[in-house]
């Protein structure tokens, strides 16, 4: 079950997706947070953000759309109030950073780097579909992705993971840009642009009209994107999108993911990642799989 990204060893390949598990301590009554392979925290930005007006979420078939708008307390308060509690976690912590301009991303990282936190890395959100400032301008542009990756790489020796958007023409090009910029890994996918309308009132179900679709509804899209990226880059991929069962995890591994993140289903079952760790280990022993590497990218195409 153990898996390595660069020189960091994780106790399981299962991580929390950013924005779906707070900072870990919110769920401590219901789950042994330290049993996760790692926690990826909710996006932090250079300045505090109050987020988007309600309604921010809507349920759709086997999924939900959200437009939270990166509500967070900003990196200064984050350093003082959040990092100390993250340091108490026994599992690996990866801090997710979002921004709008290069300067914001870099200042945020510099402030976090100066803090001597126990976190092992950063996941860079260049793919939030819900705010202009969510970095999506970076995430749809190869040169900007590469430049941002280069600049962030200069500022940290910790793990550097770029989080990719599916809302692009060719995700593999963006992934290659992250790779040549020096990223240690990419994570894919962020949410898929979606919209839902209340037919009675004719109003969009979200205040911002468009939002990000997540949950089991997007799993096939995520699998396809992970596999495209797998064929295009040599760095590890962290697969995200609608994972609800151990079989889903295996599917992501076969498509090319080295690790996975669980997102939307945490809301329903905050213990899911821990439960799936057990089920995955059973799957490994039943199918005589010695290590996670034996599954990564091992999808077998039809031969005809």
């Amino acid at each position: 079950m153990r898996v390595k990204l660069k020189d960091i060893e994780f106790s399981s390949p299962i991580l929390t997706a950013s924005g779906t598990y707070g900072y870990g301590h919110e769920v401590r009554d219901m789950a042994d947070v330290n049993q996760w392979g790692g926690i990826i925290t909710k996006s932090v930005t250079r300045h505090p953000r109050e987020g988007n007006p309600p309604p921010r979420i809507a349920e759709t078939r086997s999924g939900m759309i959200n437009s939270i708008g990166l509500a967070n307390l900003g990196v200064e308060k984050y350093c003082n109030e959040i990092i100390p509690s993250l340091n108490e976690l026994q599992t690996k912590v990866i801090i997710n950073i979002a921004g709008s301009a290069m300067k914001d991303y870099l200042e945020t990282m510099e402030m976090l780097e100066s803090k001597n936190g126990k976190h092992v890395g950063y996941e860079i959100n260049i793919s939030c579909p819900n705010v202009k400032e969510g970095g999506i301008e970076f995430g749809v542009n190869c040169e900007m992705t590469e430049q941002l990756t280069i600049e962030m790489r200069k500022r940290t020796d910790k793990l550097l993971i770029m989080k990719l958007s599916p809302n692009v023409t060719r995700i593999e090009d963006i992934a290659q840009a992250a790779e040549s910029g020096g990223a240690d890994a990419v994570s894919a996918i962020n949410t898929v642009v979606g919209m839902a309308i209340d037919v009675k009132t004719r109003r969009p179900k979200l205040n911002t009209a468009f939002g990000g679709l997540s949950g089991p509804a997007i799993k096939p899209i995520a699998i396809a994107n992970v596999h495209k990226v797998f064929k295009a880059v040599n760095i590890p991929i962290i697969g995200i999108g609608g994972i609800a069962t151990a079989k889903d995890v295996v599917e992501f591994l076969l498509a090319g993911a080295t690790m996975v993140q669980i997102g939307t289903m945490n809301y329903q079952n905050p213990n899911l990642g821990i439960q799936l760790k057990g089920e995955l280990s059973e799957y490994y022993s039943q199918n005589e799989i010695e290590k996670t590497e034996d599954l990564i990218g091992k999808v077998e195409y039809h031969s005809n």
Partner: protein, 266 residues
């Protein structure tokens, strides 16, 4: 402490037209919940959608909790069909609770889907022998499940006049408490459809009465991580977390808000 507990259904009955009451054995949630709090429910173990269904707790004690709900959608239809003995995945108790009723004359006002937290408060007030007034609204008599007893300060309204007083809950308020006739320590506690609560809020405002409202919002997790259950507060409200001053979360900062604190009940 938040518990995730498999509640065992010990009764599940239609108590009025389309309105169901389920009683669970759920010792941890029962012993730690306060009137006004809620549980977030997984309608079934093979639930194909992603969100649980938040439901106010209607009563707690003796290892039991109950909920009261209208069967209106996919989730509540499954719930209405829960069999006796079925185990249901519950998370709770969540949210804040009714406060300030001990030192006041509470007028408690419920309607539609907002019956549960109001009945819960009613029971607590009876138990603590706190003099109060209960007003409950419905569209017609079939939706009520206890009698209109003005002598005991229990007033029912129906839109069609088929039971109790014809009109809505605010019509009752106006008829029994004409403007200016409230005792000084009157406090209103209300839960119901957004339109109803907005009217109750206006009434409290006109009569300069303190008023707490239990709001219903769309919600995914119930414990502060999805940040979807937003309620807009007046900007000057001081919260603990700066980024939640304006957009508060119903699951952590509510579901009960002071009427003065929020922009609207919708």
């Amino acid at each position: 402490m938040i518990y995730r507990e498999m509640g065992k259904v010990i009764s599940n009955e239609e108590i009025a037209e389309g309105i169901y009451k389920t009683v669970f054995i759920s010792p941890n949630i029962s012993s730690s919940s306060m009137p006004g709090q809620f549980v977030n429910i997984l309608p079934s173990l093979d639930w194909r959608n992603v969100m649980r269904r938040p439901m106010s707790i209607a009563s707690q004690g003796n290892d039991e909790i109950s909920i009261i709900y209208k069967s209106v959608g996919e989730g509540t239809r499954i719930m209405a069909n829960w069999a006796i003995g079925e185990k249901v995945d519950l998370i709770g108790p969540l949210g804040n609770y009714w406060e300030g009723y001990k030192s006041s004359f509470p007028i408690i006002v419920g309607g539609g889907v907002g019956i549960a937290p109001i009945l819960n408060l009613h029971d607590v007030l009876l138990e603590k022998k706190i003099d109060h007034c209960l007003i409950m609204g419905a569209r017609h008599s079939g939706e009520h499940f206890f009698p209109h007893e003005p002598q005991n300060k229990v007033f029912l309204s129906t839109d069609d006049g088929s039971l109790g007083i014809k009109g809505n809950v605010v019509d009752i308020l106006k008829s029994i408490y004409p403007i200016g006739k409230h005792s000084q320590n009157t406090k209103i506690f209300s839960c119901g459809p957004p339109m109803m609560m907005d009217e109750v809020r206006n009434y409290s405002n006109e009569n300069k009465l303190d008023c707490d409202l239990a709001l219903e919002t769309i919600m995914a997790c119930g414990f502060g991580i999805c940040q979807g259950c937003t309620v807009e507060r007046k900007a000057e409200t001081n919260g603990v977390h700066s980024y939640r001053n304006r957009f508060a979360l119903a699951c952590l900062d509510g579901p009960i808000f002071n009427a003065e604190e929020i922009i609207s009940c919708v």
